[in-house]
């Protein structure tokens, strides 16, 4: 949206995303261009089906645009192979989902360790960092608990800690408060604001007005287009 100090972390250039659903051509994202800088906290809002999640996936190199290009930290992720993009996401992008998607049989600590293990960090490094991250999101006393043993808000905090495991410059969250009550959502907003103040760029796709209003910037999508 903006690029503080001229540095651009994410740049989408006229990206379009179309797909077929039961024979019909769906234009989920229709020629969007935007930039996200290192200190940005951007909320993408809009009605259901407006293309928020699709745009978020395109910005995070989870999905490829039908046309246009996405640059992440200067790299054209649209030209990368699938394994290259997976590695890129692992090291540069943190992702948070509405339904947390934690591994139920691993503890909070192990869930946070997982991306670090994939990145090749030693067990000692992983443990130190995972403990620090869980403490950072306020779960120092829940590290050995499994997702089924903690509340929804706590699970989402574990998911945020997992997203920050490999110190990504960009944190993407798709409806992160969708499964949380108002009080817990407020806590999540505070966590995002705090992380953003520490230098992590955050982009959230949300219906949650409270969360959107807490972001530094807002972007409204309607029918796959940015609405001024």
């Amino acid at each position: 949206m903006s690029a503080e100090n001229g540095r651009v972390l994410v740049e989408a250039r006229d990206v379009r995303r179309e797909y077929r659903l039961k024979g019909d051509l769906i234009e989920a994202v229709r020629g969007i261009s935007l930039e996200v800088g290192p200190g940005d906290f951007l909320a993408i809002v809009g009605p259901s089906g407006s293309g928020k999640s699709t745009l978020l996936h395109l910005l995070g190199a989870v999905d490829s645009p039908t046309s246009g290009a996405v640059f992440l930290d200067g790299s054209d992720v649209t030209s990368m192979s699938d394994p290259q993009r997976a590695r890129f996401r692992l090291e540069h992008v943190g992702l948070v989902f509405q339904r947390f998607h934690l591994l139920p049989m691993l503890t909070a600590l192990e869930n946070v360790e997982l991306p670090m293990a994939e990145a090749g960090l030693s067990r000692r490094e992983r443990l130190e960092r995972a403990e620090a991250l869980l403490a950072r999101v306020g779960l120092a006393d829940r590290m050995r608990h499994r997702p089924g043993e903690i509340s929804g808000g706590q699970r989402q905090r574990v998911a945020v800690a997992r997203a920050l495991a490999n110190s990504p410059a960009l944190l993407l969250a798709d409806e992160p408060t969708g499964e949380l009550d108002r009080t817990t959502s407020a806590g999540m907003l505070e966590l995002f604001q705090s992380l953003n103040e520490d230098g992590t760029a955050i982009v959230v796709a949300t219906h949650d007005l409270q969360l959107a209003e807490g972001a530094r910037q807002q972007l409204k999508l309607v029918d796959g287009r940015i609405q001024a």
């Binding site: 797909y19 999640s53 699709t54 996936h57 995070g60 989870v62 999905d63 699938d82 394994p83 997976a86 590695r87 890129f88 996401r89 692992l90 090291e91 992008v93 943190g94 992702l95 989902f97 509405q98 339904r99 998607h101 591994l103 139920p104 049989m105 691993l106 192990e110 360790e113 997982l114 991306p115 293990a117 994939e118 990145a119 997992r162 997203a163 490999n166 798709d174 409806e175 969708g178």
Partner: protein
């Protein structure tokens, strides 16, 4: 290793499902092991039985191998002397076999019209081997001494029926030996022996070859000759040479006999191959189904893991480890179960009529265990590969869209 820890714990997420899968695969593994043991067991057992006698060649009338009491070698002494003159041959053990009637102890008694009315008084059928006590490979003495004129060595069956060393048995040619004029003789039990080729429950005894020839009026005849070679001789080569020198006789090495037996017993191998394949298919289907259900349950999580950068290889490896652990647990149970079932079946089949009781249908060899376990593990991993790869090929964004409300 963290992802593998996840795999191991995932199996405990649905313990009943995992347990059922393990038990199902264990049964298939047991069946596979039994079929592997059956497939090669008879051959191995037959070879072991033949080699245990210590004679490398068998000589018999044409078309009667391995043993047939109906046909005999004529001029047995001449053939034996001629064979013994061959420098490749260290010894020859002639054998004459015949069914006789025996009485003289409190026998259970068995009647048969062909045996004549007097047998109804209590005589039993006895398979008697006429042997040269100095050169024989048909029995191992467990008590007493070797057969001698007027003396008999009895098998364990008769001993179990109460016949003891020092008892006297009357042996008589049955009515079928009309030429023998119903000859009979009294023989003192000199020893008790384990007869290598006796069928289960078969009463067997041995007397000197000349005594049996006289009793059955078969002078200078032998049903079989067992040939011991001098050290370093090639049994197959000597057998091939002797066949040309003695065209009226059937001569075979143990290896050639085993080959012949293997051809005749190919039915068992085919059966084992078919049932073994079925058990591998069952394993594949079971693991494939369980893993497909398990992976389908986790499509959203898989997509999320891929979205956060976990590689396809790591995720597929995790599923393969899950399958491997299931199959490992099943193999441990299955191999034990297989050995148990093989033991039970062996007990039933040891009474198979006409076969030496020393023949084993299920022969345990460590490599059979390894093959059964490897077969199950490979089938399981292969079965898990299909749903795992399918899940890996699902588009991440579309799957997340579907999974998220």
């Amino acid at each position: 290793m963290l992802i593998f820890r996840y795999s191991a714990r995932e199996l405990f997420r649905h313990p009943a499902r995992s347990l059922l899968a393990v038990l199902g695969v264990a049964v298939a593994c047991a069946m596979l092991l039994d079929m592997l043991m059956l497939g090669g067991g008879l051959n191995a057992s037959f070879r072991s039985l033949l080699t245990s006698a210590g004679y490398e060649l068998r000589v018999s009338p044409a078309g009667t191998l391995p043993f047939d009491t109906g046909a005999t070698i004529s001029d047995a002494a001449g053939v034996r002397a001629s064979l013994e003159a061959d420098p490749a041959i260290a010894g020859v053990a002639p054998v004459l076999g015949s069914n006789l009637l025996a009485e003289g102890w409190e026998s259970p008694g068995e009647t048969s019209l062909e045996d004549g009315p007097e047998e109804a008084r209590g005589a039993v059928r006895l398979f008697v081997l006429g042997v040269d006590p100095e050169e024989q490979g048909l029995y191992r003495l467990t008590a007493g001494g070797a057969p001698a004129p007027g003396g008999v060595v009895i098998g364990l069956e008769l001993a179990e029926e109460g016949v003891e060393i020092g008892d006297t048995l009357t042996l008589r040619a049955p009515a079928s030996f009309a030429d023998a004029g119903r000859r009979s003789g009294r023989y003192v039990v000199l020893g008790i022996a384990e007869f290598l080729y006796s069928a289960a429950g078969e009463r067997t005894a041995a007397i000197p070859l000349s005594s049996l020839a006289e009793l059955t009026d078969q002078p200078d005849r032998a049903s079989l000759m067992m040939v011991r070679l001098t050290a370093g001789e090639d049994p197959d080569g000597v057998a091939d040479r002797l066949r040309t020198e003695y065209p009226g006789l059937e001569i075979a090495s143990i290896g050639q006999l085993v080959e012949t037996a293997a051809r005749r017993l190919s039915y068992f191998r085919q059966l084992a191959a078919i049932l073994g394949t079925v058990s591998l298919i069952v394993t594949t289907l079971l693991i494939g189904t369980i893993m497909a259900i398990s992976i389908n349950d986790r499509y959203g999580t898989i997509a999320a893991l891929r979205a956060i950068g976990i590689s396809r290889r790591s995720i597929v490896s995790a599923f393969l480890v899950e399958s491997l652990l299931l199959c490992l647990a099943a193999s441990v149970i299955g191999l034990g179960l297989g050995l148990l079932v093989a033991g039970q079946l062996e007990r039933i089949l040891s009474d198979f009529p006409g076969l030496p009781s020393a023949i084993r249908f299920f022969v345990f060899e460590p490599d059979r265990l390894a093959w059964a376990a490897a077969g199950v593990l490979l089938a399981g991993v292969g079965a898990a590969l299909v749903p795992a790869i399918r899940a890996m090929n699902a588009p991440i964004a579309a799957t997340l869209h579907r999974e998220e409300p």
